[in-house]
Symmetry: C2
Subunit: 125 residues, 2 copies
C-alpha cells in the first residue's frame, strides 16, 4: 500500500494505490523518472457516508468505501510507450478491460504532472 | 487491504484497514464472531487537501494522506481479553506503544457495535 486518497467532484471516490517492488522502491527513494518495470495500481470504490457509524457517534463522522468502481494500471516501458511519457495505461471493470476510447483519456490528464513523471501519487509512509 | 475510510470531525483522518489471513477470511465469509487469532490493523494519516492536484484541475478535487498519525491493532483472544469482548486493543505512535490510559478509551466506543463483534469495519472487496 503506497497511498490512500479521496477524489471529490464527479469522481467522488476512495482510492488505494498499490505498487510492485520496483514502484515502491522508486516512491520511497524519490526516484524520477520511475524505472522501466514500474507498475502502479489504483483501486477505487465509491465514497459513501456510513449511516451505521454516524448513528453510533450521533454526528456526520464516517465516510466509507462503497461498491468497487474500477481498477487502473500504470506500466512503465520507456520504449513501448514512448508516445505517452513511457507509461502504458489500462482500466478494468468487473475483470474486463475498458476500450481504447477510454484509454485515450488517460494521458491528457497525466500530462499535467510531467514534472512528477506523469504520476499524481506521492508516497505516504 | 480490507478497507479504506475517512473519519471526519476531530479525528479528520484517512485510514486503511489491513488484516492477517484469519481476519481476511472472516471478513470475506462474514464470519461473526471473528475467530481467535484475528488481527486487524488500522493505519491512519491526516486528511489534507492536495493543493498541487487542485491546481491541475482548477477546483477542489483531491484529498490526500498527510503525515502518518498512529497505528492501531485489534487482536482476538476470547479468553485473554474476555472482559473486552475478546478483543485486545493496542495503539502505537512512532513505534512506541500508547499508555494504558489511552487503551482504556478503546472498548467504550467499540462496545457500541457489539452486534458486529465490536468491529466497525465492513469488508470492501
Amino acid at each position: 500500500l503506497i497511498f490512500v486518497a479521496h477524489e471529490a467532484g464527479n469522481l467522488n471516490d476512495f482510492r488505494a494505490i498499490l505498487g510492485n517492488d520496483v514502484a515502491v522502491t522508486a516512491f520511497r527513494e524519490g526516484e524520477l523518472p520511475f524505472p522501466d518495470g514500474t507498475i502502479i495500481t489504483r483501486l477505487a470504490w465509491s465514497y459513501v457516508a456510513s449511516e451505521e457509524n454516524n448513528k453510533v457517534f450521533g454526528r456526520s463522522q464516517s465516510f466509507v468505501a462503497g461498491p468497487a468502481m474500477d481498477v487502473q494500471f500504470l506500466v512503465k516501458d520507456s520504449k513501448k510507450y514512448a508516445a505517452t511519457g513511457g507509461w502504458g495505461f489500462a482500466q478494468f471493470k468487473d475483470g474486463k478491460p475498458a476500450d481504447e476510447s477510454v484509454h485515450k483519456t488517460c494521458f491528457p490528464c497525466h500530462e499535467h504532472v510531467k514534472a512528477r513523471d506523469f504520476v499524481f501519487t506521492h508516497y505516504a509512509p
